[in-house]
Symmetry: C2
Subunit: 418 residues, 2 copies
């Protein structure tokens, strides 16, 4: 049984020029997938008439076509007109909608101290919908709408991601979209997160477990040394998924750190919270990224007390109490310095657990003995200490973000082993 196909048409000249990264296509794709549809393609086009019309025509091959963007008041905003043309229906003015848009536009005109007359033409344009379309109401001044062409249900949504995400749930409640969803089979999603294994080792484990099965799709994705495996399991395929999951995990179980989507910093905070431990950071090459990841989690202030970004050596000495002799004898990028930094943060910030990172992020500063990418880590806690050294590949940005993840996993290991 095939799933209904969804095609996502995203319009915006800044998107097709690569000046801004599209968020709507991935959002709608994840939604489609979780609703049991098959996200078949994401099509990003500018606001040129020909390209957009061609894109919409390929959308009309699908069961569900969702468009984003091109609903504004100007002549460049052509989505509604071209959806109508592609579907072979006329545009019609919706008086109730016009009045609603007028009210919003009058208040904008007031705020900008401009005459409403400047807005009038745009208001009328935005109140035109394809004959037979259902309005989803306004986000800003643009109305979303749903048109059932017989073969395809077209959902027309505004481009700003927050507005699109606000109108999307309303689209799901329309009779037309419900008819498509009635033929869908929402899958279950299973998540496996590994750290410390290579992508090829996980790929091999998947292959040797027999690979994807009917109704079980697997995606492997490497991100800053973590390997994320997602299993998308069709209804009725649970037993097959159990079998695949068991066989996949068995040879690499020591690297599995999560069966949910929470990032490693959330695990670290939870491990601390469960044991009543407080946490601090001492960073050199990551320059605050470890602290930033930890404090990105709501409620982190219960556990995380603070951090020192010690970029200059004398800050390492003065703020973290790293002995000048250690820096002289071993250098700032050394296991000894990393350990002294973590111990210093623990003592100075009065916490139970501290983690440190010191390394050479490049592009300059490398030597034959200590090349760009060499990074030392230390984690200290009430029951022990872990140090780690790694030659992190990549450019400055990659070295910094990968080192951040490695530091967080080092604390996680410290907290799970003791």
């Amino acid at each position: 049984m095939t799933r209904p196909r969804a095609v996502l048409v995203v319009t915006g000249s800044e998107l097709v020029r690569g000046e801004r990264t599209d968020l709507n296509g991935p959002f709608l794709a994840r939604e489609a997938l979780s609703l049991g549809l098959e996200p078949a393609r994401i099509l990003i086009v500018g606001d040129g008439e020909e390209e957009l019309e061609a894109a919409l025509r390929t959308g009309l091959d699908a069961d569900l076509c969702v468009t984003s963007g091109g609903l504004g008041p100007t002549h460049d905003d052509r989505t509604v007109e071209l959806v109508a043309r592609a579907a072979g229906v006329e545009l019609e003015l919706r008086e109730g909608l016009r009045a609603e848009i007028e009210a919003v536009s009058r208040s904008i005109a007031d705020r900008l101290r401009r005459p409403y007359a400047d807005f009038e033409e745009g208001v009328t344009k935005q109140a035109m919908l394809p004959a037979g379309a259902v309005s989803l109401g306004l986000a800003g001044t643009a109305p979303g709408s749903v048109l059932d062409t017989g073969g395809t249900v077209v959902v027309v949504l505004p481009g700003p991601p927050t507005e699109l995400q606000r109108l999307w749930p309303r689209a799901l409640e329309t009779a037309a979209v419900r008819r498509v969803l009635a033929r869908a089979r929402p899958p279950q999603r299973r998540v496996l997160r590994f750290f410390g294994a290579s992508e090829s080792a996980i790929a091999r484990a998947l292959r040797e477990a027999g690979g994807e099965r009917d109704g079980v799709e697997a995606t492997i994705c490497a991100r800053d040394f973590e390997i994320h495996v997602d299993l998308v399991v069709a209804p009725g395929a649970d037993a097959l998924a159990d079998e695949l999951e068991g066989a996949l995990v068995a040879p690499v179980e020591q690297y599995l750190f999560s069966r949910d989507d929470r990032p490693v910093e959330a695990h670290v905070l939870d491990l601390c919270r469960a044991r009543g431990l407080t946490l601090a950071t001492a960073e050199s090459c990551t320059g605050g990224l470890v602290a930033a990841r930890l404090t990105g989690v709501p409620g982190s202030s219960e556990v995380f007390r603070g951090g020192i970004v010690a970029y200059a050596n004398d800050v390492k000495e003065a703020e973290l109490g790293v002995p000048a002799a250690t820096l002289e004898a071993y250098g700032a990028v050394s296991a000894e310095a990393a350990l002294a930094m973590a111990e210093g943060a623990r003592r100075r910030l009065g916490v139970d657990v501290a983690v440190s990172v010191t390394g050479i992020a490049g592009p300059d500063g490398g030597t034959p003995e200590k090349p760009v990418g060499l990074v030392h880590y230390a984690a200290v806690g009430p029951e022990g200490t872990l140090v780690h050294e790694f030659n992190v590949p990549g450019d400055r940005g990659a070295i910094r973000s990968r080192s951040t993840v490695m530091a967080l996993h080092l604390v996680r290991r410290l907290l799970t082993q003791s």
Copy 2:
């Protein structure tokens, strides 16, 4: 005169499912634009045969079609086969290429301690190219290639962004791609970066300056309170662009902070460097993000000496010397606390300039007097002090990243006004 059209076909099931955000389409679109091509569409599809073949066929309508992904050793990797099919040519084994891939694969096999025989089938598959295609050499084990179908030049590149970006310059040197570029007219790109003005104020300035002209395309994009305007200027349209730029900038000139792509933190570091000043940070709600932005810039260690992430109040007292009385009387989220934090960082870390941020990032911790989003900033330097208060809209992530940008702009203002 129309520009040659470029269509970008990106394949990867994790991309079409929205599980990972595509970076290759935007990269290639920016490249196409700067080379004087028209990036006409970005098409993201999975690795299913039918969808990918249909996507490649629409690519063959363009002057240049660039594909990314689907070059691996397994049966799911179908790009080369389907490019050949869409172009109506046979696949052929390239013996030199096969030997090259074999050498790489043998060393991988050694490292993984697996028999080379496991790799042999994949090696042969990866060494097949469409008849007439030019190899671009290897990135990993996958060869990029260029095929001229007569009407369309197809560039086939691997999916991992670093590998794609490594092979892309080689594609530009092939005779086939050069023929397409000979018909292109590389535009000039002008960049205007504003801070402190609303997007609608800049949009109005653009409109009142007469809007886009023939040969001058304008994009406005808001990002963390900065407004980025890009002008793409066709050859010969310089005078029109000068006129538009002048008229656009005049009413909003006080908000213009850059005419290049450098982020605000690079401006801050340059301003410090030019005057021999050192810099430090003191952060609460941004949790290290300001320091992380500054240390993301290569060479920042010349200027940036360190930072304190003072999440808990007693860390603000102990590490930044914020008086307990200040915290008691005004609270940690107050102009007084922000100022004491910046002054403390300046004194404790021995720097010339320091910036601080303290606020309520939410979702919890807000009160009627101090709601979620209330943030105080202070910047102190040898010649003065600036404080700022703002109710930052958005969720926790938005409040944190917007506050980071606001803090950086506050230091920039301090350094440019004195």
